[in-house]
C-alpha cells in the first residue's frame, strides 16, 4: 500500500512539474507581446511609451534571462504569487482568480452534487421500472445529447426573455454592490438559477443514464445470475448491483468536483456569470497571458488534487483496487 501511494505520488509530482513548466511556457512563446498590447490600448506618445515599456517589463519580471524567469516563477509559485494581471493591472492574478472562484463553487458544487444524487437514484429506479425507462429515459438521452450551448440559450430565451422570470446576465443585479442583505441574496439567487438549472439538467441526464446502464449490466452479470438461480430475493441482488454500479459513478463525481475550479466555461459565457470560465474568456480576449497562465495553473492544481483524492477514495470503496495493488510487481 505504501509503495502504491509512493509511486502514485511520484507520478503526480512529475505531472505537476511538467504541467507547470508548460504553463510557464505559454505566455512566453505565444505570438504577440503582452506589454505592447497593454500599452497600445493607452494612447501614449513614443517616448512615454518607451519608459512605460521598460517599467512594465521590470514589473512583470521579464528583464532577466529566461532561466532566471523560470526559477523566479517557481519561487513565486511556492509563495502563492501568480504574477500580475495585465488587463486588470496592477491587481495580482491570485486576487482576480479568488474573486471568481466563489461563483464557480456556488454554481457548480450544488449542480454537481444534486444532479449526482438525483441522477443516480433516478437511474436506479428507471433500471427496474419499465414505464419510467420507456418515457423519461429518452428525455435523459436528449438532455445529455443536446449541445450544451443550445440548452443554455434555450433556457435563457424561454425563462429570461419570453417569460421574463429570470435575469440572464451577471451574478447579481448591476444596481447592487455585494453585501449581506435580503435584497442582494435574492438577486444572487435569481441570477444563479438559470445557469444552475442548465448545468443540473445536462448532468442529471448523464448520471441517470450511466447509472441505469451500469445497473442493467450488473444485473446481467454472472454473479447476479448465480444469486438468482439460488433463489435470492430481487431486493438483495439489486443491492449488490447498486453497490457495484455506484463505483464508477463515484469516480465520475470526483472528476467533476475536481474541475469545479475550471468553472463552466460555456454556461458562464452564455449567462455572463463571473466565474473562472468567464474570466478565462476575458483573459484570452484581452491577451492577458499572465491571467491565462494563472487560471490554467489553478486548474492544474485542482484537477491533480481531485485525482489524488479519487485514487484514495477508490482504494477505500473498491476491494479490487485495494487487492490489486499488493499483486502488482514493480
Amino acid at each position: 500500500m505504501r509503495r502504491y501511494f509512493g509511486r502514485k505520488l511520484l507520478i503526480y509530482v512529475l505531472t505537476f512539474f511538467l504541467a507547470v513548466t508548460i504553463d510557464w511556457l505559454i505566455p512566453r512563446f505565444m505570438p504577440g507581446d503582452p506589454v505592447q498590447t497593454m500599452l497600445s490600448r493607452a494612447a501614449l506618445h513614443a517616448e512615454a511609451r518607451e519608459v512605460m515599456y521598460g517599467y512594465y517589463v521590470r514589473a512583470f519580471g521579464l528583464d532577466v534571462p529566461l532561466w532566471q524567469q523560470y526559477l523566479n516563477f517557481w519561487n513565486a509559485l511556492f509563495h502563492g504569487d501568480l504574477g500580475t494581471s495585465v488587463y486588470l493591472f496592477p491587481q495580482p492574478v491570485v486576487k482576480v482568480i479568488m474573486r471568481a472562484v466563489p461563483y464557480d463553487i456556488l454554481l457548480l458544487l450544488p449542480a454537481i452534487l444534486l444532479s449526482w444524487f438525483a441522477g443516480n437514484h433516478f437511474g436506479a429506479i428507471a433500471a427496474r421500472t419499465r414505464w419510467l425507462d420507456n418515457t423519461l429515459l429518452p428525455v435523459g438521452y436528449i438532455l445529455t445529447a443536446t449541445p450544451y450551448m443550445w440548452l443554455g440559450i434555450l433556457l435563457a430565451w424561454v425563462f429570461g426573455i419570453v417569460l421574463g422570470i429570470f435575469p440572464i446576465a451577471g451574478a447579481y443585479s448591476f444596481e447592487l454592490r455585494p453585501h449581506l442583505s435580503g435584497a442582494f441574496l435574492a438577486s444572487l439567487l435569481k441570477h444563479w438559477f438559470l445557469p444552475f438549472a442548465s448545468i443540473f439538467l445536462v448532468k442529471f441526464g448523464g448520471w441517470a443514464i450511466g447509472m441505469r446502464n451500469m445497473i442493467i449490466y450488473e444485473l446481467e452479470s454472472d454473479y447476479a445470475h448465480y444469486l438468482e438461480a439460488l433463489g435470492t430475493p430481487r431486493k438483495l441482488i439489486r443491492k449488490y448491483a447498486f453497490r457495484n454500479a455506484i463505483l464508477p459513478q463515484i469516480t465520475g463525481l470526483a472528476l467533476d468536483l475536481g474541475v469545479i475550479v475550471a468553472g463552466a466555461l460555456v454556461t458562464e459565457v452564455v449567462f455572463s456569470y463571473p466565474g473562472i470560465g468567464y474570466l478565462i474568456l476575458q483573459a484570452i480576449q484581452n491577451q492577458d497571458y499572465f491571467l491565462i497562465q494563472g487560471c490554467f495553473l489553478f486548474i492544474i492544481i485542482g484537477v491533480l488534487l481531485a485525482n489524488f483524492a479519487i485514487d484514495i477514495a477508490y482504494v477505500i470503496v473498491d476491494p479490487r483496487t485495494r487487492l490489486g495493488m499488493t499483486g502488482e510487481g514493480a
Binding site: 445470475h225 438461480a229 433463489g231 449488490y240 457495484n244
Partner: protein, 322 residues
Amino acid sequence: MSLQVEELTVYYQTLKGDVRALEEATFRVADGEIMGLAGESGCGKSTLANSLILLKPPMRLVKGRVTLDGEELPIHDMERMNSYRFERISIIPQYAMNALNPTQKIGKIIADLVRWRQVDFDDILPELKRRLDLVHLSYDVLDMYPIELSGGMKQRVVMVLSTLLNPSLLLADEITSALDVSSQKAVMEMLVSFRGWEFVRSVIVITHDLSILYQVADSILIMYAGQLAEKASTVAIIRAPRHPYTRMLISSLPEVGVKHAERRLTGIPGTPPLLLNPPEGCRFRERCPVAFEKCVDVPPFIQIEPGHFVACWKEFETNARA
C-alpha cells in the same frame, strides 16, 4: 423418487421466432443417481438445466411437468420457485469462476444467501468450515474477496456454497471445461464425494466432453439438437450404444487416456441443424447414415431394455424384428 421430467418443451423467444432448444424431454433421475448429460455445444443442455431451476425470459415453457421427490416444481413461476432453489435444487454454473460478487467478502456473500432461508450464519458456520476443510480450503477464504482466490479455489467455494443446504438435486453445468485434465478429474471426484457425504442426493453433470463422464456417471443422457437421443447406464452407452448418433460419438472417441483436446465430440461429418427452424422429424436425419422415410416423423423416446431409452426409428425396427 427424485427427479421426473415429462414432455418438457422450452423455446427461446427471439425477434426472428422461437428457437426450439428443448423438445419433449422425458426422463428420470433416480435417488442417488449421477447422470451425465452430453451432446455438442448448442444442443440444449444448459437450456434443460436452466429450465429446471431458472426458467425466465427469453425462455418460454411450452409444455411439460417437472416433479422432484414427488412434488411438482412450479418451474414457470419465478417467485414460487425461489423456495425450491438452493434448498431442494441447486446449480454449479458454467461460469463458476465469476459467480461471486467481486466487491463482497465470501463470508458475507454466504451469510447474505443463507439469511433468506431462515438459517443463521453462526449456526451453519461449523458445518461450512467442515465442508471447506473437506474441499481443502482454509476457512480464511471467508474473510477474502473473490479476486484473492485462484479460479480453482473459487470453483470449490461455489461447490460448497451451492450444496450447503443439502439439495436433492444438483446441476453441474460444464464445470470442468475451463480446467486442465488433472483438475477436471479432481473436480469430478469431488462431485462423487459430495454424493457420498450426502451433501446432495442426485446430480446431473453436463458436459460436451463425454470422456469425463466415464469414471463418475451412473448413467448418461445424450442430446442432439434439442431432442433426447439416448439414455442408458454408462456401461451400456459405452459398450452397446443404440442410437446412431451415440454410436458415432463413441467410435469417434479415441482410447481413454488420450489428451483432452482430442477427445471432443467431433469427427462426425456435417453440422447440427439450426434450432430456429429445425427440420421436421428426427433432427439427426441429415447426418444419419441409416436414415429412411420414417425419420420425417419425430421418433418417440422409448425404453427398449430396462433403463435403456432410445429415440430412433431404425432401432425400433431392428428391435421389433429381433
